[in-house]
Amino acid sequence: MSAMDPTEVFRQEASELFEVLEGALLDLGQRPDDRELVDSAFRALHTIKGSGAMFGFDKVASFTHEFETAFDRVRKGEIKPTQELISVALAAKDYIRTLIEDPQSTDDIIGEAILDDLRRFVSADQPAAPVAAIAEAPPLARAESKQAGWHLYLEFESHILRNGSNPLDLLEDLCKLGPCFVVPVTDGIPFLDEMEPEDCYLKWDVKLHAACDKDAIDDVFMFVQDEMKLTLSPLAQIEAPAPAPLFLLLDEEQVPMAEMAAPVIEIAAAPIAEQPVAKAEPKPEAKPEPKAEAKREERGIATVRVQAERLDELMDRVGELVIAQARLSQLAASGSDLSIKMIAEEIERLASSLRDTTMGARMVPIGSLFGRFRRLVHDLSRDLSKPVEFVTTGEDTELDKTMIECLADPLVHLIRNAIDHGIEDNATRAANGKTEQGRIELAAVHSGAQVLVTVKDNGGGLNTARIRAKAEEQGLIAAGAVLTDHEIHQFLFHPGFSTAQTISALSGRGVGMDVVKRTIENMRGSIDLSTRPGQGTTVTLRLPLTLAIIEGLLIRVGEGRYIIPLSAVEECVELTAEDERSRGRNFLNVRGNLVPFLRLRELLTASGSPDKHQKTIIISTGETRVGLVADQIIGNHQTVIKSLSKLHSDVTIFSGATILGDGTAALILDVAQLVTLAQSKVEKQHISEAA
């Protein structure tokens, strides 16, 4: 059947329909109340009318239309199918059949007569609408006054998607009329838990830059006109055509309904971002992509010199913003207002990205610093007649600019020490079978949230025995005390400690290492030494990425809250009853190791009664571990560091303060000081026990 001419199919079908119609009409004469017969006759007529018009049988269509109109009254039960009516109907049927099968053999007059009869029977004087009007396509729209285009605002009923209409398709059709600038209006989108996946929540604001007729636009929305609000207004002449035709963007893949919202936003966002407001001179052939890329490249190269103070100020403001945001988040989380929660989340996201960007702006590659030492090494090796090869790696490791500045002096000390004390003189090197040229490596590398800066020499290593002798001589340790090599090496950081026999212009005055240590610790970094006799010494500096914001552990002691820099925290354990009993001894048993601990309640003279279960936070600086006993561990806290005022400059155990989400202040504990404090307590205990 597929290859058959539809007109031929219609003729066949019509002749079948006539039989159905005739049969139904005849039967109706016998059983005038049979609804089924009326319906079947009516359907036959309806099909003949519809199909007739389709296949060019216009006379059939118009005649059958009137026949149908008359018969409709029978169907509705308004008139009875009398014998007379059926006779006329049969005559009408015969007439239609002739119109289809042999239209030449009949005349319109016959048709008119039959119709008159029909009308008389159904006493319907209503003039039937001329069928021709239906058959004709809607007349082409009159050209409206020419203008720049249209501004449309589209608002669909929420069920629009369920009825198979796709607003995206409609937008696409709209784009075919001319360049469109489509902006989705998202304010109607509910919260996720209230969202019906099959509902349409988006509205659209469209600027159509084409002087098309209103009818053309109406045509696009033909099927949905009664399910939408379409606000249409002419576009002012000033707004020139949008540069890129949007349908290019809209095109390609069919978007599954569930994903509809997202791509649409992208569609609109792209042109807005790339081409902010159409300019007066449109560039029709401009390719937006490469152009944008070129611009981005230019931007990448371009730098702006900014005063360092401004960056500091900016960081300060961002710090305050982060604090305010934390308060907002806390407030939002305690309430039930979803829209506040949404805003709070948005601000949190923005604040954290702003913080990252601002910190990024302060980051400087450490290479700028390394460059300075090349000259230093050159001069020193010449003065000391120790040929030294100077190698640097990781120059592009980035650090906060203030830290770079603070690092310069300590590194000068360390490099001087390495050449002066570390690298042996030529004779010693030759005797030990080493190359004549010494080697100093300066390296920087990222390690988690820290940067490791190492100064490594291939000299003779630390003379542990000599350091020990010196320490005993200075009364730092009792003669014969059992100490590990590592503990002995720590004396190098003692103020006024120097093993260099002669004080040179370069080193040996004992002001070096303790200053280095203090500087690094002020940056919340740590310093560590490792050495292998005959092979060299490595000094490792561990530095936080930035000075301004740290990850902290928020704890409570009595009524007060304190921050411990998270980088120093090793673990948290509960203070057991056994440890509790050891009051006075202040040692904690952590998996077999004795760790000295400080009771923060006593140290901070906290008021109120202590919590039943005291917690111990184990902190460490390098190899030394100390426990801090607190009432409660609250959790992680993004800590914006505020420095303490001059009034508090003699308070040693705090390195700064921060403002918590609820607006109250918390002090930041100085880990290095606490460790020193704990150790001195231990030493005192040793002394008192010895006494």
């Binding site: 079947s40 099909t47 519809g50 199909s51 796709n166």
Partner: protein
């Protein structure tokens, strides 16, 4: 391109739809009444249904309502054929879940235009 179901008790209309849409690359499935149409819709995924309203066994409105209850027909466009140009019929069909309509008699290009409007490649 698309799989289109035409539901009409008139074979000539179905044939007409077929000869217009098949050369345009669509595959056309036929059904003689609503019940058959529903069965075909349940049997496989369709991109568009074109249905007559006046049909024996199950009429077009009943078919549209039944189709809208099928999970596989979510968002599927349904077009009805109507000779009535009166809005009441259109309104009834639309509230039953129809997407659009084609007024009979229609020209091949009108049919193609409506199909093109609702079926995307």
């Amino acid at each position: 391109m698309a799989t289109i179901l035409t539901v009409d008790d008139s074979p000539s209309i179905r044939q007409m739809i077929k000869v217009v849409l098949e050369p345009a690359g669509h595959s056309v499935i036929e059904a003689g009444d609503g019940a058959q149409g529903l069965a075909k819709a349940q049997a496989g995924k369709l991109d568009l249904v074109i249905t007559d309203l006046n049909m024996p066994v199950m009429n077009g409105l009943e078919l549209i309502r039944a189709l809208r209850k099928l999970p596989s027909a979510v968002g599927m466009p349904i077009v009805f054929l109507t000779t009535e140009s009166n809005d009441a019929v259109k309104q009834e069909a639309k509230s039953a879940g129809a997407t659009g309509w084609i007024t009979k008699p229609f020209k091949p290009e009108q049919l193609l235009a409506v199909v093109g409007k609702l079926v995307r490649a």
